[in-house]
């Protein structure tokens, strides 16, 4: 991956890093005792994850009746959270796959943690289709396997079944991709470790030696997996959107959902990457790897996807009016002005209005603004899913059955709990593996270029041999 970088381009990694510096900077967090901040954050996350376990056990013990869903609104926070988490996962795949194919080399600073985020988000998302079942213990019925219950088979017409395949595929491909990228870095950590740690990393790095053949195969595999992942970026949320789009309920039954969901997913995913990166670069002292340029680029993606989402919202309204179909018209009228009007306006403000601030370069490059707006965007995207699910169900065809829904403490705790689960996994990850892809970052150092003539040029070139050894 050692392409030449034009000298006129500004650096992607700041601080005039040498290969050695990079190895040091990125491996150290896995080697030293955790910081106080990390311990506090992990404790909080673990407590929330404990809350998750408690509220899930409560749900299974008492029944779905411990939630406030009702005969009219049969999905609420559960599926809202599911779609939200799945959406968040998308940024990781996009960064690692599509940006790889598009040779967006700035991605290397953030791809590792974005991919990790994907996997953890999908883990969180995957909880909900399970725990929202009335009879979780029979959840295995959704898998097509030969069984002794007569000629019973799954229903391939059901979007929920498509979800099963879409998400399991997505999870396994993402996991493979992420792990493939990790292998050389785990080897780096191994080389610096001793004792049991060394043994463990040895196992996990699959005996990586850094030979040219290894690198060649690794690069091919990365490309192949990127190729496989790329359609997944589009397909997973498309299929999730089919849960709604293929139904007969006005407000769900719309052909715009697939692209709109994908754009929304990337939008929320990038926002979540921003949230995590802004914290991680500070706490792990990675400001020179995850630079303002990264943040700037990702903010550009956010403003683009946010605007796409905004166009989708307006298109929906237009089509509802243009369709001449009264139920559709009412569904969208109700979405805006009905009982859940606040969630619609919350969604509009957070998703469409607030990202427009990123047209300003100053705000785009402001850590605080970025952090704040990334949170706002994720709140907005949660609202979007809530609007689609709860508002639509609350007012459909038959007025006699209209109802209202607000969650119980159990539902709130489950959602908070998945956030805890996510952070437990993510914080654990920062302690185990380098949060920035060492091998890939090294490839984009200016000093790595043959044409490089700047400071530390000799040093870098001179050290090449040593660094290779260290790898």
């Amino acid at each position: 991956m050692s392409q030449a970088v034009a000298p006129v381009r500004h650096v992607l990694i700041e601080g005039n890093k040498s290969y050695h510096n990079i190895t040091e900077d990125l491996c150290t967090p896995t080697e030293k005792a955790p910081s106080r901040e990390w311990i506090i954050a992990f404790t909080l996350a673990a407590a929330l994850a404990g809350l998750y376990v408690f509220s899930v056990v409560w749900t299974i013990w008492k029944g779905i009746g411990s939630w406030n869903l009702n005969r009219t609104i049969n999905w609420g926070w559960d599926i809202t959270n599911f779609v939200w988490w799945i959406g968040i996962g998308h940024a990781g795949t996009l960064i690692s796959a599509i940006l790889l194919l598009f040779r967006q080399r700035w991605r290397t600073g953030v791809n590792r943690s974005a991919e990790a985020m994907t996997i953890f988000a999908v883990i969180c998302a995957g909880q909900f289709p399970l725990i929202h079942m009335g009879r979780l213990w029979l959840g295995f019925f959704i898998f097509p396997f030969p069984n002794t219950r007569g000629p019973l088979w799954v229903n391939f017409n059901s979007p929920l079944l498509w979800d099963v395949f879409a998400i399991s595929t997505y999870f396994s491909v993402s996991l493979l991709f992420w792990y493939t990228g990790l292998v050389p870095d785990l080897a780096t950590v191994r080389d610096r470790a001793s004792g049991l740690r060394r043994k463990l990393y040895e196992t996990f790095s699959f005996g990586w030696t850094g030979s040219a053949k290894h690198w060649q195969r690794w690069e091919s595999l990365s490309l192949i997996l990127a190729g496989i992942s790329t359609p997944l970026v589009l397909s997973v949320h498309t299929i999730v959107s089919f849960d709604f789009a293929t139904s007969v309920i006005p407000g769900w039954h719309t052909t715009i959902f697939p692209p709109y969901f994908v754009a929304g997913a990337i939008f929320s995913g990038f926002a979540m990457v921003q949230t995590l990166m802004v914290i991680a670069r500070k706490v792990l002292k990675l400001e020179e790897y995850i630079t303002l340029n990264h943040i700037d680029s990702m903010n550009k993606v956010i403003v683009l996807t946010g605007t796409i989402v905004g166009v989708a919202y307006l298109t929906e309204l237009f089509i509802a009016w243009y369709s001449g179909y009264i139920y559709e018209q009412f569904a969208f009228y109700n979405r805006v002005f009905g009982v859940y009007w606040w969630s619609y306006f919350g969604m509009m403000f957070c998703n469409v209005v607030s990202p427009q601030l990123f047209w300003s370069r100053k705000i785009r490059r402001s850590i605080w603004w970025t952090f704040f707006l990334s949170i706002v965007v994720n709140i907005g995207m949660w609202f979007e899913r809530f609007v689609i699910i709860a508002t639509t169900l609350a007012r459909d065809y038959i007025p006699s059955s209209w109802s209202y829904y607000s969650p119980t403490w159990v539902e709130i705790c489950i959602f908070m709990g998945t956030i805890g689960l996510f952070f437990v996994l993510f914080l654990g990850f920062t302690r185990i593996a380098p949060v920035v892809a060492i091998a890939e970052v090294k490839a984009i150092l200016k000093v790595a270029g043959d044409q490089y003539v700047g400071p530390k040029a000799n040093q870098a070139h001179g050290k090449t041999e040593d660094v290779k050894k260290e790898d």
Binding site: K62, G65, N70, F141, Y397, I398, S400, S403
Partner: protein
């Protein structure tokens, strides 16, 4: 070496060695674990193998705990019981004056379902919600299970002999004896009472009705010399005017009237005509909700309204007018127009009044006389006996008791300590009676203050008879042995009277008594049978006997003077209240039945409690507010005649401005699951001239003082296109579409179609267009054309005529009873977790202040392109070849996607363990409990006896819904098969269909062109539609548009 064998395995074989020969003899070589000396030869591997196998086997055996279920076979099988096959017995549901001829379905000796008896000319196979639910009362855990003495409300058991001694001892003292009852329909019970009063001349029977018609009886006595109620022929009347009489829901004989009424209102599109119905009232009654026009008068204006109509008719007829009080101008103008119409339909009209003021009833009688309706639509040839009571008698008894004259009081069915307006005075006077006996089945308010309980059987355990109408007799036969140590009230009375006609040697003395009474009394009046035995056998089989009509005609007794000043005076207070009986609870005697408590009130759609109905107000722009800005579920302090109670309000369309109303029958203090819900409105009932009045002035409604956290209403949105005058646009606008938020609606939904008879052609045109448009849209489909698939064999379908549906709820309770639908309790209904498979949606339309109503029974539509089916990931819901959308409960994992994707929202999810099907203690906390019981309602084995064994009891976490009574379909098919014939059109009838008193629901085979369901659909023409026809889900249920006969000139 010579080789004898071609092939050898080993040298041992080749050489035929000893060891080989030995082993060859044993075909199967087994290495024993133990050698010949008995020493253990197994090695470590064998040990581990055995250990593993043993442990595995033990684990499997121990973990597969098989619940112990005892199926005890009959030692001697009763002749008539075939396990798995239901028996039906003709009987009669009787509770006070409520009557229904029924068939009782029993399974393995347990009554589990009530069906209508189609042979009866009174109810004609129709039932009421009350009759449907009565089977559950049999299995009420709160029944008094043995005779005993009562002190401080606690029962101390005693045996019947002791009790009999005690009573006879008291009787021997010779004091006054009073037997307090509701209306008694049974001729044989009356005979028994006659024997009792003959033996003890100091004894007197006093009966009253929980909701009184005493004034009607007195007025008829004055006017016609007959102290009884005539047959009102609603089917023969072209114009019906009802002054507050809820004849479709609660008044006199609602099942009979509903059938007749619906008959007069079935519209044949080719020859459109139907009766017109005016209802004069303040709160919207079930009858009022079916009326074409409602004329709003305050409760105190009822008399004035009757006078106004009388004067208007008299003016047209040239009769003398009376000087009555004036009614409000709007009503007066309307009544003038009504009078014109009545006069145009002389002899073909009918005026009824629910008033309990004698003069108002006299004037009503005179009105019918003037209009020539006597002996036409008002038929005295067959008298109605459903109301015989007079509360003035019971008031007199209270006086007597107060003075200490009464030594023995017997309570039979009545509950005066709750039902009477002066219940407190009653209880105080009652306590002065030395011995107080109650026949009542539960420890209700009155029984609690008795000294002894002599619990009577439930009617399903009893012998008896009833004569609800003159010459229409029916029998009551037991369908199960008494569950507890109870005894028929009649038998107790006869024993205490030491009747000579009672043969105690008989196994069932009262049965013999009844039989001999019929042989001597009823047999003589009929001509069809020549021997008493044949007569009895056939009567018992049919359940009913029709005797020749009396042919009595009456004429108005001119001596009955009309006095306009004797009617009730319009009050001057700002707010008036009316107290009314509901179709499900009566005046409280059904309040302890959870099926009826959980049946939503047809009008305000609330459950478990009575609520103060307040009028709604239109602000002229975009809001429909509750009166005084009150909201559903707000608590307010209501004071009527100085007695204050905190009530929960509910906004009710059709409630006249300046009035409020509240249902009777709630706020029970003792006796069962109804305790603790709602408020008791009986103390508010004013008594005028000894007669209980059901409206009151002097009402103050305070400000909001809190909220009912458990206010449970199954319907949040009530309207489908109400109109009102907009102050902004200065025109009548569709108020529904102006309203934003919870109440806002799109009203042009293809769910309900309605029109008045006058605009029927316009509706037909509209529906024609709708069908064409839908057909066009539905052809643009990806679905395969399955016409052929469904066109062969059987395709089940249903037809519901919205013009016939009166919203009485009998079908809903029948469905609950048939399909083991659980009761979930108030809090769960509040959370919209009700489980009803069949609901009756109620929509208001037309003028916002005085709207019309359409009821829509909504059950699973069994769509051919069912949206629920293709979204289920596990195929738990799928389509049968016969067009039924079926649920495999065992396969359901509870994703609830089907319920979301159901356009009709008829799928029900078991949010909690409502049926206690999973015995998991943690799951029993939130489900329905009757207060004070030690286990959840459904966990009680007594209650579970009511379950239909043909229908799975669903467990937590699965979806359920209407199955078109698939168990009945299966039964019908099996019967047809065993009889080697095709399924007939009447073989299979769903529970809702058989329950319906008006025949609004028809079920059958859509592939049979001659089936009733097809005939009806064809008859309805373009008016037949599928709900949401244009979304191509292809429902199997067809509705026929609601047609009313609104007089548009009236309210303008």
């Amino acid at each position: 070496m010579h080789q004898e064998k071609g092939i050898w395995v080993s040298t041992e074989e080749l050489n035929q060695e000893e060891s080989f020969l030995q082993s060859a003899e044993k075909e199967f070589v087994m290495e024993d674990l133990v050698d010949s000396d008995g020493a253990w030869t197994a090695n470590r591997r064998d040990f581990l193998k055995m250990l593993g196998f043993g442990l595995g086997a033990a684990t499997i055996a121990a973990s597969c705990e098989i619940p112990m279920k005892r199926a005890v076979p009959y030692v001697t099988k009763p002749e008539e019981i075939v396990p798995g096959v239901a028996n039906y017995y003709a009987s009669s549901f009787v509770n006070g004056g409520d009557y229904c001829a029924v068939l009782v379905k029993t399974r393995e000796g347990r009554p589990i379902k009530i069906e209508g008896n189609t042979l009866s000319k009174v109810t004609q196979g129709g039932t009421s919600a009350r009759a449907q639910a009565s089977v559950l009362d049999l299995y009420n855990t709160r029944r008094i299970q043995s005779p005993g003495s009562i002190s401080n409300g606690e029962l101390t058991e005693m045996d019947w002999n002791q009790l009999d001694e005690k009573v006879k001892g008291q009787l021997a003292l010779g004091g006054q004896v009073r037997i307090i009852t509701n209306t008694i329909l049974s001729p044989t019970a009356k005979k028994a009472l006659g024997e009792f009063t003959a033996k003890y001349p100091n004894a007197r029977v006093v009966s009253y009705d929980p909701v009184s018609s005493a004034a009607l009886l007195s007025a008829n006595e004055q006017c016609f010399g007959v102290k009884a109620i005539p047959s009102n022929k609603f089917d023969e009347a072209n114009v019906i005017v009802s002054f507050g009489a809820d004849f479709l829901g609660t008044w006199i004989s609602p099942v009979e009237y509903a059938r007749a009424y619906a008959k007069g209102r079935k519209v044949d599109p080719k020859n459109p005509r139907m009766s017109r119905h005016y209802q004069v009232e303040s709160h919207m009654s079930l009858t009022g909700s079916n009326a074409d026009n409602r004329i709003l008068v305050k409760p105190s204006e009822q008399g004035a309204a009757i006078c106004a109509l009388y004067n208007a008719v008299a003016a047209l007829k040239g009769a003398a007018s009376i000087s009555g009080p004036a009614v409000n101008d709007k009503a007066a103008a309307a009544l003038k127009k009504v009078a014109r119409e009545l006069v145009d339909n002389q002899g073909k009209s009918l005026v009824v009044s629910g008033s309990n003021n004698i003069m108002e009833q006299v004037i009503t009688n005179k009105l019918n006389d003037l209009l020539g309706n006597l002996n036409q639509t008002v038929d005295f040839g067959t008298l109605s006996y459903q109301r015989q009571g007079d509360e003035r008698d019971v008031m007199r008894v209270v006086e007597e008791m107060k003075q200490g004259q009464v030594g023995l009081a017997i309570i039979w069915g009545a509950n005066p300590a709750y039902e009477l307006p002066n219940a407190e005075a009653f209880v105080e006077a009652f306590s002065k009676v030395n011995t107080r006996i109650s026949f009542n089945g539960v420890m209700d308010e009155t029984t609690k203050v008795c000294t002894h309980a002599a619990p009577a059987n439930h009617f399903l355990e009893s012998w008896g008879d009833a004569e609800p109408k003159e010459g229409h007799l029916s029998l009551i036969q037991p369908t199960i042995s008494p569950l507890f140590n109870t005894r028929q009230a009649e038998l107790s009375l006869l024993l205490w009277a030491e009747s000579a006609n009672l043969n105690l040697e008989d196994e069932q003395p009262y049965y013999q008594y009844l039989k001999s009474n019929w042989a001597s009394d009823v047999f003589a009046k009929q001509t069809a049978y020549s021997t008493p035995t044949a007569f009895w056998d056939m009567s018992l089989h049919d359940g009913i006997v029709e005797l020749p009509a009396s042919g009595r005609t009456v004429s108005f007794n001119e001596g009955a003077s009309l006095n306009g000043s004797a009617v009730s005076k319009p009050g001057s207070s700002d707010v008036e209240i009316s107290m009314y009986e509901t179709v499900n609870l009566g005046n409280g005697s059904y309040a302890h039945n959870p099926w009826l408590q959980e049946m939503p009130d047809p009008i305000n759609r609330t459950v478990w409690g009575n609520h103060l109905n307040i009028p709604v107000e239109w602000d002229g722009v975009n809001k429909i507010n509750g009166w005084k800005d009150l909201n559903d579920g707000d608590n307010v302090e209501v004071t009527v005649n100085g007695k204050g109670v905190t009530c929960t309000v509910v906004k009710t369309f059709g409630q006249m401005p300046g009035t409020v109303s509240i249902a009777l029958g709630q706020g029970r203090i003792e006796g069962g699951c109804g305790v603790g819900y709602g408020v008791n409105a009986n103390p508010w009932l004013p008594v005028t001239g000894g007669l209980v009045q059901y409206g009151a002035g002097d009402v103050t409604v305070g400000e909001k003082v809190g909220e009912d956290k458990h206010f449970a209403c199954v319907q949040h949105h009530h309207t489908m296109g109400v109109t009102a005058m907009s102050t902004k646009e200065e025109a009548v606008v569709n108020a529904d579409e102006k309203v934003i938020g919870m109440d806002g609606s799109l009203t042009d939904r293809s769910v309900i179609f309605q029109a008045s008879l006058a605009s029927l052609p316009a509706l037909q045109e509209k529906m024609n267009e709708f069908h064409e448009e839908s057909d066009h849209l539905n052809q643009q489909t990806l679905y395969p054309d399955r016409t052929d698939y469904f066109g062969t064999g059987v395709k089940w379908g249903m037809f519901v005529d919205l013009s016939s549906c009166i919203g009485c709820g009998a079908c809903q309770v029948a469905c609950v009873s048939e399909n083991n639908v659980p009761v979930v309790g108030k809090n769960e209904v509040k959370r919209h977790h009700e489980m009803t498979w069949l609901r009756i949606d109620r929509y208001f339309y037309g003028d916002l202040e005085n709207p019309n109503v359409v009821y829509q029974p909504m059950m699973c539509q069994h769509c051919d392109n069912a949206p629920c089916e293709n979204v289920c990931p596990v195929n738990a819901t799928n389509h049968s070849m016969e067009g039924i959308n079926q649920m495999a409960y065992n396969r359901c994992i509870g994703t609830r996607y089907c319920a979301n994707n159901c356009p009709f929202k008829v799928r029900r999810f078991n949010w909690l363990d409502y049926t206690t099907a999973d015995t998991w203690p943690a799951n029993e906390e939130q489900v329905f409990w009757v207060e004070g019981e030690d286990k959840p309602y459904y966990a009680d084995n007594l209650v579970r006896m009511v379950l239909n064994p043909d229908v799975t009891v669903r467990s937590r976490g699965v979806i359920e819904k209407c199955s078109f009574c698939v168990q009945r379909i299966q039964e019908g098919k099996l019967t047809a098969k065993s009889e080697e014939r095709a399924i007939g059109d009447n073989d299979i009838r769903t529970a809702c269909q058989t329950a319906c008193p008006t025949g609004a629901i028809v079920f059958g085979n859509m592939n049979n062109a001659d089936s009733e369901v097809n005939q009806k659909i064809e008859g309805a023409g373009v008016l037949a539609y599928q709900a949401l026809e244009e979304i191509n889900v292809r429902p199997g249920v067809r509705y026929a548009a609601k047609i009313n006969n609104r007089n548009e000139e009236l309210n303008s």
